[in-house]
């Protein structure tokens, strides 16, 4: 009898018992945040490998300028520098701290050296005075500046003022 009772109990238990439910759903949908950086490299063609040397000074001013264009653009995007009235870049945010500030100043100096070398060359080539070349280049640079970038413009009374290009 006891044996039957146990069998019955087991039968009931087996009959009434199913696989336990594991609830995997959530009250809020699962949020997945993905931050991804994808670097795409343009490989140099064989035989025309570009110089990767950091010695920018070894390059001609035009090439050196081209190599640092992205950095200059980054400075402009960050409103650190602006196009001055003499065809040179001017540091607007002079208090940029630390190593990056040094890098900005160093890059700016190199850029202006190259610009000045190119303008002197144009002055000699076109038989135009250097100030005239600088004024013309400054006008061109400012015309080519993007919206919100700093430019130095003349006020009607003759003084100069820094404005963000509209």
């Amino acid at each position: 009898m006891e044996k039957h009772s146990i069998m019955l109990l087991l039968s009931c238990l087996l009959a009434g018992c199913t696989t336990p439910t594991v609830n995997l759903s959530t009250s809020e949908p699962i949020k997945v945040n993905i931050d991804m950086r994808l670097d795409v490299y343009q490989h140099s063609q064989a035989g025309s490998k570009k110089p990767t040397t950091p010695s920018v000074v070894a390059l001609d001013p035009e090439s050196a300028r081209r190599n640092r264009m992205a950095d200059i653009q980054q400075f402009k995007n960050s409103l650190l520098v602006g196009e001055g009235r003499d065809g040179l870049l001017v540091l607007i945010e002079k208090n940029t701290p630390g190593e990056y500030g040094d890098y900005v100043r160093k890059t700016l100096s190199a850029e202006n050296d190259d610009r000045m070398a190119l303008m002197k060359s144009a002055s000699e080539r076109d038989k135009i005075s250097l100030p005239d070349v600088q004024r013309k280049q400054a006008e061109l640079w400012q015309n080519r500046s993007f919206k919100n970038e700093w430019i130095e413009v003349a006020k009607p009374e003759g003084s100069w003022v820094w404005v963000q290009k509209e």
Binding site: I34, M36, L38, H43, T52, L140, R144
Partner: protein, 665 residues
């Protein structure tokens, strides 16, 4: 015997007769001697009797042989004004007594006669009222003049002064039997001037008149007048003549003759303009008139339609002799001389003009404007073109006057009563039509179908702008795989460069933009592009078909900075309105390549991860980008109910690690 002796009475008569004859001969001899020794005085007396209003000066009259009378230094002056009317160095009259008996002279030879025709000269010579009193008219076997001059001075400041040289050799002049024989008068070096002008406005090299006495007396006709080569300047002098009051005297003086045939050959007509910058136009006049009244000759010539064709006309920059501002392959100017005096041209047909749009063009326009003060007001003395027709015009962008880029469009114009200061200054208040056409430029992967367009110089005119404004409407434009419709492009060319704007429907939205092209040897330019409600799905399907898709209407803005065909810098941002879906279909390839050998857990987790990355529904999507040459950064920020996706795509020009901008993120 008594009868042999002459009777005394008869003898006495004979003596008387002899004495009378002797006296008569003596008197005749004395008279002849007196006449011969006082021919000059006699001639003066005779002229004075014939022309009492004149004063005559004769240096000498004498016989040269028995049948030739010579008059030397004959001068006739108006007694009232003392003006010289006629000067003759020498005149020879050859005669014979039997010819004189017949009222005929053998020859009259005039040497260097100078006839000065002054106003009122007609009053000098009395009009004979005794018709037929002269009896039988005199005739001349020959009248010769190898060189003579006639000088006519106008009677008002508006009347032309004319000088000419002439020669003739007429035979049987005045002989009724030979009255039908033509006589020829050769005239050369005809010059007509107006007071106040230095240069003659009319020069005729040779004029031959042919007329018979019969044709003149019976038909009032000069048989023919032939004008061979000469020059007529249509300009201030003619304008002065025709602007004066009607000259009553000259109308009376004009004989009621007509010319049977008037031949004008090789007479250069120059359209003169007193402004030094305006190039004169010269053409040749070759024409023939029949039965033209002399009084109407000017009108007939003035009404004669003319045309001038000028080919390959080049107008150069005032500041650079090597820089073209305008070339005209062919210009046909239709006019009549009478219209020219009113500064009217019947028609100007310009074929294949090329406008070199650059600093020089606008300097030139500015220069013209300063010189003539044309801005905003109708110039005084400007020309009017009754009908202007311009065909197949083209524009060339002339950067710094050296590097030329042809624009792919033609323009044309038809206008009536166009008033312009001068053709070259382009101050034409005419809308030039740019006809619709299909263009395909394979090297640029560009094709466009234009509907129509217009081109305006100095627009808007009330502002006196020195510019060129063009606008084209485009039905369809395809650049590479991109396409737009219902578009337009507008460009304003001025001394600093080209400023343009454009817009059109594209991919369900509207795309607009602009550009500024600066005149410089390196051809720098900037541009901007913006879009509103552009279907991102259509756009991504084109940019990256079957690899990447985003949906939703996108607004975007781009700025560009370029030299020639090379983009130096691009910067922009974008934002999707109202959300959408992102699907990176390219990842399906990755899923398909999941090895079967992977465990179910590894395979499933990989699949989940990739699918999570592949598909994303976003409620907001925005981003920005910048490129400098081949390198730059694209940021894409997506937010949705299932999280966020932030992508930074960094494009490196090469493998170099140099550049702090690469490590900023």
């Amino acid at each position: 015997m008594e009868s042999d002796k002459p009777r005394p009475r008869r003898r006495r008569w004979l003596r008387i007769f002899g004495a009378v004859v002797a006296f008569g001969v003596l008197a005749l001899g004395i008279s002849v001697w007196y006449l011969l020794t006082n021919l000059t005085e006699l001639a003066r007396w005779a002229v004075h009797r014939a022309i009492p209003a004149a004063v005559v000066e004769i240096e000498n009259v004498h016989f040269d042989g028995v049948s030739s009378l010579v008059v030397e230094k004959f001068v006739l002056r108006d007694r009232a004004s003392n003006d010289e009317v006629l000067r003759l160095d020498r005149g020879d009259v050859v005669f014979s007594f039997d010819a004189i008996w017949r009222n005929q002279l053998n020859e009259i030879r005039l040497v260097n006669p100078i006839i000065r025709v002054n106003p009122g000269i007609g009053n000098l010579f009395p009009v004979s009222d005794k018709k037929g009193a002269a009896g039988k008219p005199w005739s001349f076997l020959r009248i010769v003049c190898d060189y003579g001059e006639i000088r006519y001075s106008g009677n008002t400041e508006h009347s032309p002064a004319v000088s000419l040289k002439f020669a003739m050799d007429w035979r049987d002049f005045g002989d009724p039997v030979a009255a039908a024989n033509p006589l020829e008068l050769t005239i050369w070096d005809v010059q007509a001037t107006v007071a106040g002008t230095a240069e003659p406005f009319l020069v005729l090299d040779v004029v031959r008149l042919t007329a018979s006495p019969d044709s003149i007396s019976k038909r009032s006709t000069v048989d023919s007048v032939s004008i061979s080569s000469g020059r007529l300047t249509v300009g201030p002098a003619l304008e002065k003549i025709f602007s004066g009051p009607p000259d009553a005297d000259s109308k009376v003086a004009l004989p009621a003759l007509k010319i049977g045939k008037l031949d004008i050959a090789n007479v250069a007509v120059r359209l003169d303009d007193n402004r030094p910058e305006i190039a004169d136009i010269t053409f040749r006049l070759n024409t023939t008139f029949q039965d033209i009244p002399i009084a109407n000759m000017a009108d007939a010539v003035g009404d004669l339609p003319q045309s001038v064709e000028v080919n390959d006309l080049e107008i150069m920059s005032p500041h650079d002799p090597f820089a073209k501002v305008l070339t005209l392959r062919s210009v046909i100017v239709r006019f009549h001389l009478g219209g020219l005096l009113r500064r009217e041209l019947d028609a100007v047909e310009i074929d294949r003009p090329t406008v070199y749009v650059g600093e020089d063009l606008f300097w030139y326009m500015e220069d013209m404007s300063k010189r003539f003060g044309t801005s905003g007001t109708k110039p005084s003395g400007g020309w009017t073109i009754r009908k202007l027709n311009v065909q197949a015009g083209s524009l060339v962008i002339a950067s710094s006057g050296r590097a030329n880029y042809g624009l792919p469009l033609n323009f044309r114009a038809t206008a009536s009563d166009v008033e312009l200061d001068n053709l070259a200054s382009l101050q034409i208040e005419t809308v030039f039509e740019i006809p619709g056409a299909n263009y395909e430029f394979e090297s640029y992967q560009l094709a466009l179908s234009t509907r129509d367009g217009e081109l305006r110089f100095a627009y808007p005119p009330e502002k006196g702008e020195k510019n060129l404004v063009g606008k084209i409407f485009i039905n369809r434009i395809v650049w590479r795989q991109y396409e737009a419709s219902k578009s337009w492009v507008s460009a304003t060319f001025d001394a600093k460069g080209i400023n343009g704007a454009f817009g059109g429907e594209a991919y369900g939205g509207y795309v607009g933009g602009g550009f500024s092209f600066f005149f410089d040897a390196a051809s720098p330019w900037i541009g901007w592009l913006s879009g509103e409600k552009v279907s991102l799905r259509k756009l991504t399907d084109i940019i990256s078909p079957q690899n990447f898709r985003m949906t939703g209407p996108i607004d975007f803005r781009l700025q560009m900075d370029a030299f020639g065909k090379n983009f130096e810098r691009i910067k922009g941002d974008f934002k999707v309105r109202g959300g959408g879906k992102m699907k990176i279909s390219k990842l399906d390839d990755l899923l398909a390549r999941v090895p079967d050998t992977w465990s179910a857990l590894k395979s499933s987790s990989t699949r989940i991860a990739v699918e999570t990355l592949r598909d994303f529904d976003y409620t907001s999507a925005r981003g920005n980008l910048w490129f400098v040459r081949e390198q730059g950064v694209v940021e894409l920020r997506l937010q949705g109910p299932l999280g966020s996706r932030n992508f930074d795509l960094v494009l490196h020009a090469d493998e170099s690690k140099e550049g702090r901008w690469k490590s900023i993120r």
